[in-house]
Symmetry: C2
Subunit: 138 residues, 2 copies
């Protein structure tokens, strides 16, 4: 699922956003990072290339991408927002040792028998998060 340097610009444009170096760097880091980084981590990463980049820019960019449906927000374990470029159906694995969050393909362990309705409720979707030790920490 490689997103080329071109595609980043297209993704931004597709969200109605102008392509700026800072925004490009935000998306590039989201793509490269396999840890579902927080805003703070993203800011630190893009500050290596753009030392003057600010929280406001990072949050503005992320919120715009989320609003446009290109990025998903994740809340895992603590109240810190984490961001996920992968908008397709998938699950998550949280390593309780190092804290990294990995994507799991939707069918990694078979389809889940989740009903469409349940006790009078309408079920539209579900989020599954696995916990344990990642391959590195195991």
């Amino acid at each position: 699922m490689g997103v080329g340097p071109h595609d980043i610009a297209r993704l931004l444009e597709g969200c109605g956003l102008r392509v700026t170096p800072q925004r490009h760097a935000v998306v590039e880091h989201l793509e490269r990072a396999r840890t579902h980084p927080s805003a703070e981590e993203i800011l630190a990463a893009i500050n290596r290339r753009f030392p003057r980049a600010s929280k406001a820019t990072v949050y503005n960019t992320l919120n715009a991408l989320v609003a446009a449906g290109a990025v998903r927000t994740l809340y895992v374990e603590d109240g810190v927002a984490r961001y996920d470029l992968n908008v397709g159906r998938h699950h998550h694995f949280v390593c309780d040792e190092c804290g990294r969050i990995e994507d799991l393909p939707f069918d990694a362990f078979g389809r889940l028998p989740v009903a469409r309705s349940l006790g009078g409720r309408r079920v539209d979707r579900f989020d599954l998060t696995l916990h344990g030790r990642c391959a590195d920490c195991r």
Copy 2:
């Protein structure tokens, strides 16, 4: 799964906490509320009986209960911590309309075929959260 007024005192003692009226009220509200309340909601609730009760007391109590394993912290949708007295195995249903969070029994829709290991990872547990409309909002 009714927890009587007696049991609240026992639960607090079992966590090594002295039984105070404020703490009793916190647990009582956790038990009665079916919405997995946030600290702010709990504070508002116990302020009806104890107008001078403070955030510090609510947070101290909740954190002590979480540390003792009697309460679970939930992070759903936004960065706000929500608290769940039910520490047994169960899932959650989030109503996207009214925001309420309901407990679902572990076997509500069959056991999930989640593997013990997955691509080099060790899987210890999993959290499943269903989204949709609750019976009231449907």
